[in-house]
C-alpha cells in the first residue's frame, strides 16, 4: 500500500504535467513580484515573494521535479544526454542559489578621502543601546516589515538595567512631519495657506520662534508677529546691470544708466538704460509696465558703438531668456544681465499676522515696504492680498501651542530614489515608558528610572579583517557636460595577518579582490564643503562558481537537445499516441 502511494507520488513528481504547472506558477509569481515591486518597492517584493517560504518551496518542488524526471528515465542511454545535461544544469543553478542565500555577504563601504575602515555596513537595521554609567551595551536587531505596520512587537525584554524594548510602528518609507498641538504655556500658533491659480502652499507659524515665525510662501513673505509693521523710509532699489565682454565684466546701478550713455570699460561700446519697468508684462506684443512694484523687473538697454546700436531687454527674474532684439548673434559680443534686489530686504511683499496683547488677531499687507492699515482677521475666511491674484486663508489658530515632530507612512518612491524607513520604538521600565522615532543614523537620549540610556539606530556592520584607506577619489566628465564618464578611487589595502600592504586603483568594473571579497566602485558623493566620499559595494558569494557551472551545463544540454539528433532522440509524447 505504502509502496503504491510512494510510487504514485514519485510518478507525479516526475511528470511533465507538474513541470508545466510549476513553469506557469513560477511565471505568475514572478510577474506578481515585479508588479509588487513597482507599487511598494524592492523590499516588499523580496519579503512577500522572492525570499518567502512558499516561493522557496516552489523552487524546491521544481528541483524535485527536474531530478525525478531525470531519474525516471533510468537506465540512461546516449539519446538522453541533452535532456540530462539540461536538467543537471538547472539543479546546479538551484543549488548555487541556495549557497548564495546561505553564505553570501553583501555590504556597503563608504570612505571619505583620508578615511580608513575595516567594517562594511550590511542591510540589517538594528538598535544599539548603551548605558554609559554602567558601561553596559546591547544590540537589538530590528525586525522590519515590507508594509506599513503598527502594533506591539517585543525586540527585547531583557535589556540593560531591566529595560524592555518594543517596536510600536514601522514604515518602509516615511516623511518627517510636524504637528502643532495645544499646550498650556506654549506660544501662539496659526496655520495659514497662501495661493493663487498657479501655486499654493501653507503651514504653521509659531510666534516668537525665530526659525518658525516666518516663511516664504511663493513670492510672498509671511510672518506671525507680536507687533505691527512700521514703514521704513529707504526707497526701493532698482538693481544693477551686469555687462560681460571679452572675458571681463562690469556692473552699473540702473539709476546711473537711466538715459545716460556710459562707456563700457575695455570695449569701444557704451551702454544706457532706455526704460526701467519694475512690473513688466507683454500686452498686444508690446512690453508695458503694469505697476511700480518690482514684480517682474525688466530693463530696455541700448549698446552703441562701432556704428551699430543693439537693443536688449533683460528680465531680472528670467536670466535664461535671450536678451537681444533683432535676434541675430550679438554684434557687439556684450552679454547683458540684470540683477534686481530679491524679495528679501525692505522692499519685499509681506503678509503679516499680528496677535496683539489684548488677544485679538489682525493682518497687515505690506507691498514694497508700504503697509496698508491692519484689518481684523477671521479664522476660515478668505482674503485677497492684491498681489498677482494671491489670496490667503488662516485655517486655525492656537493661543498656546507646541511643535511636535513625527513620521507618516508614504507610498514607496519611484525607482532611483531610496526609501526612508522610520521606526517607532517604545522603551519600558517598570511603570515608566518612553517612545521615540528612529531613522537611519538617528540618536536618542532619555532617562528611565533615573538611568540614562543612549540609543542609536543604524545598520549592522561586519569586519573585513583588513583595512582600506581612500587616498584619492577621481572623476572625469564627458566633454562640455556634468555627466560623469568615469570615476575611480585610489585606495591602500592593509592586511597585517596576511602581510599585505599595497596601493591600488578601484574603478568601474575593475574591483579589488582580496580574501574572497570583491570590492566594487559603485558610487560617490561630492559634498559642497568637506572631502569627496567614495562608495564601494563589497560582495562575497561562494555560490557563483556553482551557478556558472550549472549555466554552462544547461545551455550545452539545450543545444544538444535541439540540434544533435543522436543525443536527443526522444519521441514527443503526442507522437506516441
Amino acid at each position: 500500500m505504502l509502496r503504491i502511494a510512494i510510487q504514485a507520488l514519485y510518478n507525479f513528481l516526475a511528470s511533465l504535467k507538474l513541470a508545466v504547472l510549476l513553469l506557469i506558477g513560477l511565471a505568475i509569481a514572478l510577474a506578481a513580484g515585479t508588479i509588487l515591486e513597482s507599487l511598494h518597492g524592492a523590499l516588499a517584493a523580496q519579503k512577500v515573494i522572492y525570499h518567502s517560504g512558499w516561493f522557496t518551496l516552489l523552487l524546491i518542488l521544481l528541483g524535485a521535479n527536474v531530478a525525478a524526471s531525470a531519474l525516471n528515465r533510468l537506465p540512461w542511454q546516449k539519446r538522453h544526454l541533452g535532456f540530462l545535461l539540461t536538467h543537471a544544469g538547472i539543479l546546479l543553478i538551484l543549488f548555487g542559489s541556495w549557497m548564495t542565500q546561505r553564505f553570501a555577504v553583501e555590504g556597503i563601504l563608504a570612505l571619505a578621502e583620508g578615511e580608513k575602515s575595516d567594517r562594511i555596513e550590511l542591510p540589517q537595521p538594528l538598535l544599539h543601546i548603551l548605558v554609559p554609567k554602567a558601561q553596559e551595551t546591547l544590540t537589538v536587531p530590528l525586525k522590519t516589515t515590507a508594509f506599513e505596520w503598527k502594533g506591539r512587537r517585543p525586540l527585547t525584554e531583557a535589556g540593560p538595567q531591566g529595560l524592555k524594548v518594543y517596536l510600536a510602528a514601522y514604515y518602509p518609507h516615511s516623511e518627517h512631519l510636524e504637528e502643532m498641538l495645544p499646550k498650556a504655556g506654549g506660544k501662539p500658533a496659526l496655520k495659514a495657506s497662501v495661493y493663487n491659480a498657479f501655486m499654493g502652499s501653507g503651514g504653521w507659524l509659531l510666534q516668537g520662534d525665530p526659525d518658525r515665525d516666518n516663511v516664504h510662501l511663493g513670492p510672498a513673505h509671511v510672518r506671525f508677529s507680536a507687533v505691527e509693521f512700521e514703514a521704513s523710509s529707504a526707497p526701493a532699489e532698482k538693481g544693477e546691470i551686469v555687462l560681460q565682454a571679452g572675458g571681463k565684466s562690469a556692473r552699473f546701478a540702473v539709476e546711473d544708466l537711466l538715459g545716460k550713455e556710459t562707456p563700457i570699460p575695455g570695449t569701444s561700446y557704451s551702454v544706457s538704460v532706455i526704460r526701467y519697468l519694475p512690473h513688466a508684462a507683454v500686452e498686444n506684443n508690446e512690453l508695458v509696465n503694469k505697476s511700480e512694484a518690482p514684480v517682474n523687473p525688466a530693463c530696455e538697454i541700448s549698446i552703441t558703438g562701432n556704428g551699430i546700436t543693439e537693443m536688449h531687454t533683460v528680465f531680472a527674474r528670467f536670466p535664461d531668456f535671450p536678451t537681444i532684439h533683432g535676434l541675430k548673434p550679438s554684434q557687439s559680443g556684450v552679454k547683458v544681465g540684470f540683477e534686481a534686489p530679491s524679495a528679501e530686504g525692505s522692499a519685499e511683499n509681506e503678509l503679516r499676522f499680528v496677535r496683539k496683547e489684548d488677544g485679538s488677531l489682525v493682518y497687515q499687507i505690506i507691498t514694497q515696504g508700504v503697509p496698508l492699515p491692519p484689518s481684523p482677521l477671521e479664522i476660515g475666511k478668505e482674503y485677497t492680498t492684491g498681489w498677482m491674484d494671491i489670496r490667503f486663508i488662516v485655517e486655525s489658530f492656537l493661543p498656546e501651542a507646541e511643535l511636535r515632530t513625527g513620521f507618516e507612512s508614504r507610498p514607496m518612491p519611484s525607482q532611483g530614489k531610496s526609501p526612508r524607513p522610520a521606526a517607532l520604538v517604545r522603551f519600558e521600565k517598570g511603570p515608566e515608558s518612553h517612545e521615540a522615532w528612529f531613522t537611519t543614523g538617528s540618536h536618542e537620549i532619555f532617562f528611565l528610572g533615573g538611568v540614562p540610556y543612549h540609543v542609536t539606530y543604524g545598520d549592522r556592520t561586519s569586519s573585513l579583517h583588513f583595512e582600506l584607506e581612500l587616498k584619492d577619489f577621481m572623476i572625469e566628465y564627458y566633454p562640455g557636460t556634468q555627466r560623469p564618464a568615469s570615476f575611480k578611487s585610489n585606495v591602500s589595502l592593509e592586511d597585517p595577518v596576511k602581510g599585505v600592504s599595497k596601493e591600488l586603483i578601484i574603478s568601474m568594473n575593475e574591483p579589488l579582490q582580496h580574501r574572497g571579497y570583491k570590492i566594487y566602485q559603485s558610487g560617490y558623493q561630492l559634498p559642497q564643503n568637506g572631502s569627496e566620499v567614495s562608495i564601494f559595494q563589497v560582495a562575497r558569494d561562494p555560490g557563483i562558481p556553482v551557478k556558472y557551472a550549472g549555466s554552462i551545463v544547461m545551455i550545452l544540454g539545450i543545444v544538444i537537445m535541439f540540434y544533435m539528433k543522436r543525443f536527443s532522440n526522444q519521441k514527443p509524447l503526442y507522437a506516441e499516441k
Binding site: L26, I35, S38, S522
Partner: protein, 553 residues
C-alpha cells in the same frame, strides 16, 4: 485549385528574370530616400553647415546630427513643414522674428491646453508662449520644485517639458546652443556658442564670416551663401572624423532598408506563389529586395557601431533596429535550409514594421547617439549579454511574424496543409533559437551583474521579466511535447508568448519603471502600445474562433 491558378503566372526565362531583378535592384538603390526640401536654397548649399563640428551631449558631432536632435526636442519631428533640420535651425537664427511666430512647439495633452487657454491648436508659437507671463512664472516655480526633489504631477511635467522646449528654441535662435567654437588649445573643454562669437580669444575671423553668411542668407543668393558657409565652416576648423557620421546621417540606411523590406513583403505576399518552394521571377525579386535591405541594414549598423565606438544596443531605438536585423538574419538562416516565400515575407514584414517605427517616431525612439553612463562603458559582458538577449527577441519576433501568417491560413485557408506544415515548423525552429539565446542571454545578464557589482541575480524587474518570458516559451515547448497543444496551439502560443518579450523589452521600462501608480503612466506611448496589443490579441481570438468554426463545419 488556388495553387494551380498561381502556377499559371507566366514564368520568365531565367536570364530575363535575372536582368529584371537586377534592374529593380538598381532602381531601388539609386532612388534617394525622400529628403525634406531645404527651403530657400538647394540641398548642396547647406552641406558646409551640415558638416560643422558641434560639441553637444558629451561628444563632438556634425551639425546635421545636432540640428535633428534640437528639432526633435523642440518640435517633436526632424523636419518642419518640408524644411529639414539644418535649414530650419539656421532660419531660427537668421529670421527669429518670423520663426518665433510659427506654431513650432507641440502641446499634447488636453490638460496642458486647458492650462494655457488653448482651444484646438496642436502647436503653439514660441512667441505666444514667451509672452504668457503666468506660464513663465509657473515654470519658474516648477523648476524650483523639481530642483528640491519634489515629484511633479503629470500636468506639471508637461509644463516643464514645454518650458524646456521654449528655452531651447530661444537659446538656439540666439545661437547659444550652437557650441561650434572649439577652445584653441584644449578641445575637451567646453566649447563656446555663437552668442560668444566675439568674445572667444583667437577667433577674430569668425564674426565677419558669420555676418557675411547671414547677409548672403538675407539676400537669398544661393551661390554666395554656399561660398560664405564654406568660409565660415573652414574658419571654425574641420573635423574630418565626422565624415563617417555625416555619411550615415545622409544615407538613411535604415530608411532604405525598410523600403526594401516593405517592397519585398508586398511582392512576396501578393505576386509570388504562396506555395512555399516554387521559384518565380517575383519570388526572386522579393528575395533580392530582402537581401538588399539586409545589406543596408547591416551597413547602417556597422556605421553606427563605428561612430559610437560601441555596439549600438543602449537605447530603445537601437534595440528596435537590432531586433529587426536579428529577425531577418534568422529568417535567412532558416531559408538556407528550407526555402520558403512565406518565411521571407514574414521576416520582411517584421523588420519593416520595426524599422518604420524607429524611423518615423524620433520623439519616442530617440535616434541620437549618446555616451553611456560609467558602469556601462567598456563592458564586455554587458555587450555580450545585451546582444544575446536582443538576438533572442529577434528570433521570437520572427516566430510571432510567421505565427500571424499561419493564423491567417488557419482562419481563411485551413485546407492548405502543405503551407501550414511549413509555417508551424518555422515557428517551432524560431522558438528553439529564441529559447537558447534567451536562456543564455539571461544567464549572461547574471554574469554581467556579477562582473559589475558582485551579484549574480537580484530579482531586478528587467531580469525577472526576461525569466518570465523564458518560462512562457518553455511552457509552450513542454505543452507541445506532451501533446496538450497541437500545431494550431503552437501558433497561437508563439504569438501570445511574445507579450512576455514585449513586457521585458518595453514594459519594464515604460510600464513598471514609471510605477503603475505614478503620473508617468501613459508616457512613452504606453496607451498606444496597449491599444495595439489589445487589437492584435483580438485578431488572434478572431482567427481562433474562425478556425474552430471551420473545423466544425
Amino acid at each position: 485549385m488556388l495553387k494551380n491558378n498561381r502556377m499559371s503566372i507566366p514564368v520568365m526565362s531565367r536570364r530575363a528574370g535575372r536582368f529584371l531583378a537586377a534592374a529593380m535592384f538598381i532602381v531601388l538603390f539609386l532612388v534617394p530616400p525622400s529628403e525634406a526640401a531645404n527651403a530657400k536654397f538647394s540641398k548642396a548649399a547647406w552641406e558646409p553647415l551640415e558638416s560643422m563640428a558641434v560639441q553637444s551631449g558629451g561628444r563632438i558631432k556634425p551639425f546635421l546630427s545636432f540640428a535633428r536632435e534640437v528639432m526633435v526636442f523642440v518640435t517633436g519631428r526632424e523636419t518642419f513643414e518640408g524644411r529639414d533640420a539644418v535649414s530650419t535651425l539656421f532660419g531660427w537664427l537668421a529670421e527669429t522674428e518670423a520663426w518665433e511666430r510659427q506654431p513650432l512647439i507641440p502641446v499634447s495633452s488636453k490638460e496642458l491646453k486647458d492650462s494655457l487657454g488653448l482651444a484646438g491648436e496642436k502647436r503653439i508659437s514660441p512667441q505666444a508662449l514667451a509672452s504668457d507671463h503666468n506660464f513663465l512664472q509657473k515654470a519658474e516655480t516648477l523648476a524650483a520644485k523639481s530642483d528640491a526633489g519634489e515629484t511633479l504631477t503629470f500636468l506639471e511635467q508637461k509644463q516643464m517639458d514645454l518650458y524646456q522646449r521654449l528655452n531651447l528654441f530661444y537659446n538656439s535662435a540666439q545661437g547659444r546652443t550652437w557650441t561650434v567654437i572649439a577652445p584653441p588649445v584644449a578641445k575637451d573643454q567646453r566649447w563656446a556658442g555663437l552668442d560668444q562669437i566675439a568674445a572667444v580669444p583667437g577667433s577674430e575671423s569668425l564674426k565677419p564670416a558669420l555676418d557675411a553668411l547671414l547677409a548672403a542668407y538675407q539676400a537669398g543668393d544661393e551661390r554666395a551663401f554656399r561660398q560664405k558657409a564654406e568660409i565660415f565652416a573652414n574658419a571654425l576648423g574641420r573635423e574630418p572624423s565626422l565624415n563617417r557620421e555625416l555619411h550615415y546621417l545622409r544615407l538613411h540606411p535604415f530608411r532604405r532598408a525598410w523600403w526594401l523590406y516593405l517592397a519585398a513583403f508586398l511582392v512576396l505576399l501578393l505576386l509570388a506563389p504562396l506555395h512555399a518552394k516554387t521559384r518565380t521571377f517575383f519570388s526572386a525579386c522579393g528575395l533580392l529586395a530582402i537581401v538588399a535591405g539586409f545589406a543596408f541594414h547591416t551597413y547602417g549598423f556597422v556605421l553606427r557601431c563605428w561612430i559610437a565606438g560601441r555596439p549600438p544596443v543602449s537605447n530603445m531605438y537601437e534595440s528596435v533596429v537590432w531586433v529587426s536585423w536579428a529577425a531577418v538574419l534568422f529568417s535567412l538562416i532558416l531559408y538556407a535550409f528550407n526555402r520558403s516565400n512565406h518565411l521571407a515575407a514574414s521576416a520582411a514584414a517584421v523588420a519593416a514594421f520595426g524599422l518604420i517605427l524607429a524611423d518615423t517616431l524620433p520623439a519616442a525612439l530617440d535616434p541620437s547617439i549618446s555616451p553611456l553612463v560609467p558602469v556601462l562603458r567598456n563592458n564586455f559582458w554587458l555587450t555580450i549579454h545585451v546582444l544575446t538577449i536582443t538576438l533572442s527577441y529577434g528570433a521570437f519576433a520572427l516566430a510571432m511574424g510567421v505565427g500571424h501568417l499561419a493564423l491567417f491560413f488557419y482562419a481563411f485557408q485551413p485546407r492548405r496543409e502543405d503551407a501550414l506544415k511549413g509555417l508551424t515548423l518555422f515557428i517551432y525552429r524560431a522558438v528553439q533559437i529564441g529559447v537558447i539565446l534567451l536562456a543564455a542571454g539571461t544567464i549572461l545578464g547574471g554574469v554581467w551583474a556579477n562582473y559589475s557589482w558582485g551579484r549574480f541575480w537580484g530579482w531586478d524587474p528587467k531580469e525577472t521579466w526576461a525569466l518570465i518570458a523564458l518560462l512562457g516559451y518553455l511552457t509552450l515547448l513542454h505543452c507541445r511535447f506532451i501533446g496538450w497543444i497541437g500545431p494550431f496551439g503552437l501558433t497561437v502560443g508563439a504569438v501570445t508568448a511574445f507579450l512576455g518579450i514585449l513586457m521585458a523589452w518595453y514594459g519594464v521600462n515604460y510600464v513598471l519603471a514609471a510605477g503603475l501608480h505614478s503620473y508617468g503612466f501613459g508616457g512613452g506611448g504606453v496607451s498606444y502600445v496597449s491599444i495595439f496589443v489589445a487589437f492584435d490579441l483580438a485578431l488572434v481570438a478572431l482567427a481562433a474562433w474562425k478556425y474552430r468554426w471551420n473545423a466544425r463545419g
